[in-house]
Symmetry: C2
Subunit: 273 residues, 2 copies
């Protein structure tokens, strides 16, 4: 039986390109929102999901971080994809382009390009969805920002390639599963945790010390509001290495004892695609 | 001569309400984008600006953090405002509401409310701007999410109050100035810094140790991509206390020596409004 694999957006979205790379031959399902994906993955309707967690220019995808906190899902793998945006218009149109439709993150990644051309930015829920929208509504005075695959799929015209402000534009994706799939260390692994601590001088320092004294490299630290109480935070920390390494499992055990809330999102390999 | 004070958005925006509280009698100027405000403040066209930096539910305003990094402006004061959203429609309309217009942060803060009513979210560049839009375009099948002041200003009808998902919904605003205005400690102060460090085990721990060993409370830590190199970060750290306190100035001096990049955004009092 084919496995069901979900991604957010329309066909042609960057997430779909990543999904096809890892799950070709499986049933690939586009979904409208991250919330829908997390719900269907938790209830077992789908088996895996490909979710963007961070972009090298725009930073974290906040909504995903909040959903990871509340759900009981596992990070099975991480993969990085270079993002290159195209400016896409309807075929056989000679209208002047006045506005541009895309996902807010893509608009932000092309901010300088859009300003230089004095275009109005119109946010949509998805990059490929923006292409579909200007096609279906025959909007001739607007362009969409999306992948070249989206332009091909909807038979639209690419007028400009590589329009992102910074060429080193990468997105980190997590492959999520409901079941905890035991991964083996590959030599290029990371472990992600979430925790909250008391609001005291030195409390975060005290936690990070467990990593520092074992020479464990902290690759990322992010704080997100707890939402229950203003200006209280959950910390999202990524470290280099796999939890099957006793040095890492020892540090995590000690940290769990020092925190009010503690959760491991997974130990997984990091790849590029 | 009146001072010129800028905020982002249309009249009736939450930022305007804060601006009027601190600068009544001065010339208050609505501006379309944060980028415009930072440019005009740096070039001396305006004297002050009121800028939202963080919401207690949605987290940091990423674009503002990126602009603070690149600009040479000073944080003169911080103020917290409780945010309460209204659902606003055109007067004398009996159409069924199918969609809702507002700033992406406001839409995110009312996510549950919007889902329960099965409304389509349409992002706009400003909350009060959404009210103006559905009025000017006479859109009867849509509502806007904004302040009660925005409803009054545009003579629109409020159909629901307090529609935010969490009642403890606060926004932190910075009052920014071009000139460095020497502030006096008030007993309720904070100091904000930005720094970058080498990607080595223990390097962040080593920095935070300078605060921990002096019992200085770290109130916030945030990382943002440097944009030059993928997965390298600048750290934004807020600590409790004023830099005129020798313990704090000593810690900052030592930290400056350990970092690749170091910048003080300001030492300022924290208030509520």
């Amino acid at each position: 039986m084919k496995q069901k694999v979900a991604f957010q957006g329309e066909k042609g979205a960057y997430s779909e390109i990543v999904t096809m790379k890892y799950f070709s031959g499986e049933e690939i399902i586009p979904m409208r929102s991250f919330q829908d994906i997390f719900r269907d993955l938790e209830s077992g309707i789908v088996d895996f999901a490909i979710i963007p967690v961070e972009n090298s220019i725009e930073g974290s995808v906040n909504e995903v971080y909040d959903l990871l906190l509340k759900s009981n899902l596992w990070v099975y793998r991480e993969t990085h994809k270079r993002i290159s945006h195209c400016l896409i218009v309807n075929r056989n149109s000679d209208s002047v382009i006045k506005s541009v439709y895309s996902h807010p993150q893509a608009l932000a990644q092309c901010r300088k390009y859009i300003q230089k051309r004095n275009l109005e930015s119109i946010p949509t829920y998805d990059t490929a969805g923006a292409v579909k929208l200007i096609k279906d509504s025959r909007i001739m005075s607007a362009a969409a920002i999306a992948s070249d695959r989206a332009a091909q799929l909807y038979d639209m015209q690419i007028v400009d390639y590589g329009i992102e402000d910074e060429k080193s534009n990468y997105t980190r994706f997590f492959i999520l599963s409901k079941k905890q799939i035991k991964t083996q260390p590959t030599g290029h692994d990371a472990t992600s945790i979430i925790f909250s601590i008391n609001h005291l001088p030195g409390s975060l320092f005290n936690i990070l010390g467990e990593f520092a004294k074992r020479d464990i490299n902290l690759t990322r630290i992010e704080s997100r509001p707890t939402k229950e109480k203003p200006w209280e935070y959950n910390f999202y920390v990524d470290i280099a290495g796999h939890s099957s390494d006793t040095i890492i499992s020892e540090a995590l055990e000690l940290i769990e004892k020092k925190t009010n809330f503690f959760k491991i999102l997974g130990s997984y390999s990091i790849e590029s695609c």
